[in-house]
Every structure is written in structure tokens, then in C-alpha cells.
């Protein structure tokens, strides 16, 4: 009986908020989190959350700060609340939202606040790279000098080789991200780029060039969620429902993947999400995917099934990923142009999907967006979390 009740317990997003991405020298992680949380809570001021989950991966390494759950809860005026950090590298944001979803589905919690927050720029250069390298396999990858950028480079070279793709095959991902970032006031980079700029860009870790790699910067985003019964009577924002929430994992190390060019965790989490939501690929109006590196965007499209193996890059080259294309991605600029904020990215993606479904995306609006999917990855896809969001009409 209770199982049946839980399975029909609908999870609604009541409010979202997000800071600009960038080098916020004047703001700490607490202040960034507060800004995003204040904006999200202002959309449903009557609801006081019963649990608080923080998505973060870098604070222990870069800010020498753990226990962000309690720290931020206290700072944002929620002292006493049940609070913790959820860490799954670049998938932390999706993982925190997944925990919120499970808590609400359990029936023991009626409303949850999720915040993703990262403060990166207090450290620079090799220290940040070493902190990021902790998301690889420390014993067998980081000891060799591998970084996430190097992992992506190893994948991209193999991809171009195995599928006989041209050297600038992935340019379309960067061009699309920067085109969409140009009209996003929160984006780190608000300027479109030309194909020549991509082809002339300096190498970071060949064949990854400067326009294949996203900038890792400061930022925060927050989401207030509740069960359907908790929706305030006078709530005046368009409601969005979480139709599916699914998480999968695989090996952390690149060398441990049976086929490094298939993100098996992403394949599995998308399949689970479609089953939960009783939806299929054709139903998805937009897809906020993981584009920390352009190769990851291509592999994500293939893992989800939007393209067959080795064909993901063609969706970018053909313009199918544009706002008016068959499957729009990175509609606010993605990690490449909006900015990449580690464990916060997964929360930002969902905030962006919510704005699309609410038809509040301004110049970045995907017309008639009804169903959106968000997927974040940890590292090269050791963790994958997929959420599907739809409109919700309260009766």
C-alpha cells in the first residue's frame, strides 16, 4: 500500500536561483550559496525546507572546508535543519538532486533545498589542476600526471582516429555553446565565436584546444523542491515536475572502461530515466548535457541514443543541437560558455531546464519546450545522473 502511494507521490520544483559564473574575488562560497538560495526561496517564501543538500566537490581541497551542509545551512538562516554535502565529482549536483528526490519520495520529508556551490578561484594554476585530478584514479592515473583535461584528450584523439572524423569535427559544440552564452546574462563568456577562432585556438592538451575545454570558475545554483501536497495555495510561478531521476556508475579510471568511447553509466541512467518517465528520445525537447570538454558532449549524445556510435559530432556539425534544432543542447551556453562550476554544474543544468519549461528563457528560449532532460557526469562518466522534467498542472 505505502509503496503504491510513494510511487505516485509527485515531486515539484517550487523555486530556482543562480548566480553569475565567473571569478568572484569578492565573494566566498557562503555568499555565493546565499545568493542562489535567496533567489530560489523568494519564489516560494511560505515554504521552509525540512532538509538541505549541498553539491560540492572542491571545497575540501581548495578551501580547506568540509561539512558544507552544516556550514551553509547556518549561514543562510536554516540552523538546525538536516543537512549534508553530496559529492560525486562533476555529477555532485545531479546526485544531490537525486537524494532530494529520494527523500521526498520516501514520505519522511515534505520539502528540500538543494544548492550546488563551488569556489575555485582562491587558488590558481597547478593547485587547481591537482585538486581536479583527485576525481581521476589517484593510484593509477593521477600519479602518472593525468588530469581530467588529459583524460578528455585521450578520449578525443581515439574518437577522431576510430571514426575517421576530421580534426575540427567537434567545433560545432563550442560554436553552439558560445552562441547561446552570448544572450545569457549569467554566462562567463557572452560572445559568439567564429569557426576560424576555433581552428586557430592554441592547444591545451592535444587534440583538446582552448575552445574544447570549459573554464572552471565560481558559482552557485539552488532549487527548492516539495511534494505536491506542499505547494502553497497562492504559488504564482509555473510549476515543473521531476518526471524521472536516475543515477548509475562505472569505473573511475579511463583504462578500466571496457570501451572508453561508450559512457556506460550514461547509457544506463538514461535508460532508467526513460523507463521511469514512460518517455522516449523523441519526447525530449532539450537536453542539458555534460560539456566540460566538447568530446564529452559528443559521447553524451551517443550514450543517450540521439546519435549512433561515432556519429555524435555530426549533430553539432549539422546544427541539430542549436536552439531551433532537432535536439537543442547547452541552451544557456553549457559549461563551455556559461562556465563550469564543478559540483554545482548539475544543479545549474536543472535550473536552466526549469527556465526553459517555464518559458522564461528569454532569447535562449526553445520554442514550445515541454519536456527537458539534464545529465551531469563525474569525471569521464564514472558517475552519471539523469533527470527528466516536465510541465506540471495542479488540479
Amino acid at each position: 500500500m505505502s509503496k503504491k502511494m510513494n510511487s505516485t507521490r509527485e515531486i515539484i520544483i517550487l523555486g530556482v536561483g543562480m548566480t553569475p559564473l565567473g571569478e568572484h574575488w569578492d565573494l566566498s562560497i557562503r555568499e555565493l550559496a546565499l545568493e542562489a538560495i535567496s533567489a530560489a526561496r523568494a519564489e516560494a517564501p511560505q515554504v521552509r525546507p525540512e532538509a538541505f543538500y549541498v553539491a560540492n566537490m572542491l571545497a575540501p581541497a581548495l578551501s580547506r572546508q568540509s561539512q558544507l551542509g552544516a556550514l551553509l545551512a547556518d549561514f543562510v538562516g536554516l540552523r538546525g535543519i538536516e543537512a549534508m554535502t553530496v559529492e560525486a565529482a562533476g555529477a555532485s549536483g545531479g546526485a544531490a538532486l537525486r537524494q532530494a528526490y529520494l527523500a521526498l519520495k520516501s514520505g519522511m520529508i515534505q520539502s528540500v533545498l538543494v544548492v550546488g556551490a563551488e569556489k575555485v578561484t582562491d587558488r590558481v594554476g597547478s593547485e587547481v589542476d591537482a585538486a581536479l585530478a583527485t576525481m581521476t584514479d589517484t593510484d593509477y592515473e593521477a600519479i602518472q600526471g593525468i588530469t581530467p583535461t588529459a583524460q578528455a584528450a585521450l578520449l578525443m584523439r581515439r574518437y577522431l582516429h576510430e571514426y575517421h572524423a576530421p580534426q575540427d569535427a567537434l567545433a560545432g559544440f563550442s560554436l553552439n555553446a558560445h552562441a547561446n552564452g552570448a544572450s545569457n546574462p549569467l554566462a562567463m563568456f557572452q560572445k559568439a565565436i567564429r569557426p576560424e577562432q576555433y581552428s586557430k585556438a592554441p592547444m591545451v592538451s592535444d587534440p583538446i584546444n582552448m575552445f574544447d575545454a570549459s573554464p572552471i570558475v565560481d558559482g552557485a545554483a539552488a532549487i527548492l523542491l516539495a511534494c505536491r501536497d506542499t505547494i502553497p495555495a497562492n504559488h504564482d510561478h509555473p510549476l515543473v515536475k521531476i518526471a524521472a531521476s536516475a543515477m548509475s556508475s562505472t569505473a573511475v579510471a579511463l583504462h578500466d572502461q571496457p570501451d572508453p568511447l561508450v559512457i556506460s553509466s550514461a547509457v544506463s541512467s538514461v535508460q532508467k530515466a526513460f523507463e521511469q518517465a514512460k518517455l522516449s528520445l523523441e519526447d525530449i525537447d532539450l537536453f542539458e548535457l555534460h560539456d566540460s570538454f566538447s568530446i564529452m558532449a559528443a559521447l553524451s549524445l551517443e550514450a543517450a541514443g540521439f546519435a549512433s556510435k561515432g556519429e555524435g559530432w555530426k549533430l553539432a556539425a549539422d546544427g541539430a543541437i542549436a536552439l531551433d534544432g532537432k535536439i537543442p543542447i547547452c541552451t544557456f551556453g553549457g559549461s563551455k560558455a556559461r562556465g563550469e562550476a564543478g559540483g554545482a554544474t548539475g544543479v545549474m543544468q536543472v535550473v536552466e531546464v526549469v527556465r526553459q519549461l517555464q518559458a522564461l528563457a528569454g532569447k535562449n528560449q526553445v520554442s514550445n519546450a515541454k519536456i527537458g532532460m539534464a545529465q551531469c557526469l563525474g569525471g569521464i562518466g564514472a558517475t552519471a545522473v539523469t533527470h527528466i522534467l516536465t510541465h506540471f498542472k495542479d488540479h
Partner: protein, 133 residues
């Protein structure tokens, strides 16, 4: 610093000791005691011969803390002859161009040092196999 963390891995770092699954005969590196293919216990040690070919490679220019003195360095995924893949730096390249499929062999080299009074950490790298004349 981290002395025991490196000491524990000496058989892998110095001589590519992995495991073989007694059930499906899959070769396993790094060792993990449970076969990733069939899920059975796999604790039988197996000595890899250190030969393989390059699956992919890149050059790291912006090195993480602790590796700056080696930068720029070339990293590769090497498919070992016995099946598993291993991530490692390439060494002894001189002016030789690296390409996918190139045969390589394991050698022992310094991976990193931790300052004048710190540990010197040695382990495997891979170098091109010289073609017989």
C-alpha cells in the same frame, strides 16, 4: 609523506603484477581481487610481460602540482598484450613521433619527486620498442 600509499603499490609500479581470474581466465590490471568481467574472486597473481601498443596519447603542457618539473610530458593509454589497458607516461621518445598502434614496452623511471628532502617515486613508463634491423 604518503609513504605507505606508494609502498603498497610497489609490485604494480615496479613490475606490473596483476591478477588472473581462475574462472574466466581474464587478465586483470590493476589488481582488484574481484574479476570485473565475471564477478568471481580473482586473487591469483599474474605477471604481465610489459609489452603493448598505444591506444591513445596526448601531451600535457599544464601539469598539476607535483608534476611541473616533468612538463611537457606525453601520456598514453597502452593496451597490454594480455588485454588490459594501462595509463602511463611515454619516455625515451627523443624526436620520434607518437602514433596510435605504436608498439611500446614498460621501463622503470622516476614518476615524481616531492622536494629536496621528500620521496622519489618510481614506477612504470613506456618507451617505443626498437625495430629489429
Amino acid at each position: 609523506m604518503e609513504l605507505s600509499q606508494h609502498w603498497r603499490l610497489k609490485q604494480q609500479r615496479y613490475s606490473l603484477v596483476g591478477e588472473i581470474c581462475p574462472y574466466c581466465e581474464g587478465k586483470i590490471f590493476p589488481p582488484r581481487d574481484i574479476c570485473p568481467d565475471c564477478g568471481n574472486e580473482a586473487k591469483t597473481t599474474f605477471q604481465f610481460n610489459g609489452k603493448g601498443e598505444i591506444y591513445s596519447f596526448t601531451t600535457v603542457r599544464q601539469a598539476p602540482a607535483g608534476h611541473e618539473e616533468n612538463a611537457p610530458y606525453t601520456l598514453a593509454l597502452v593496451r597490454l598484450e594480455e588485454g588490459p589497458m594501462v595509463a602511463a607516461q611515454l619516455t625515451d621518445l627523443d624526436d620520434q613521433a607518437v602514433e596510435i598502434g605504436m608498439p611500446v614496452e614498460m621501463v622503470t623511471r622516476k614518476l615524481r619527486s616531492e622536494g629536496e628532502r621528500g620521496l622519489l617515486i618510481y614506477g612504470y613508463k613506456f618507451r617505443p620498442i626498437l625495430k629489429a634491423a
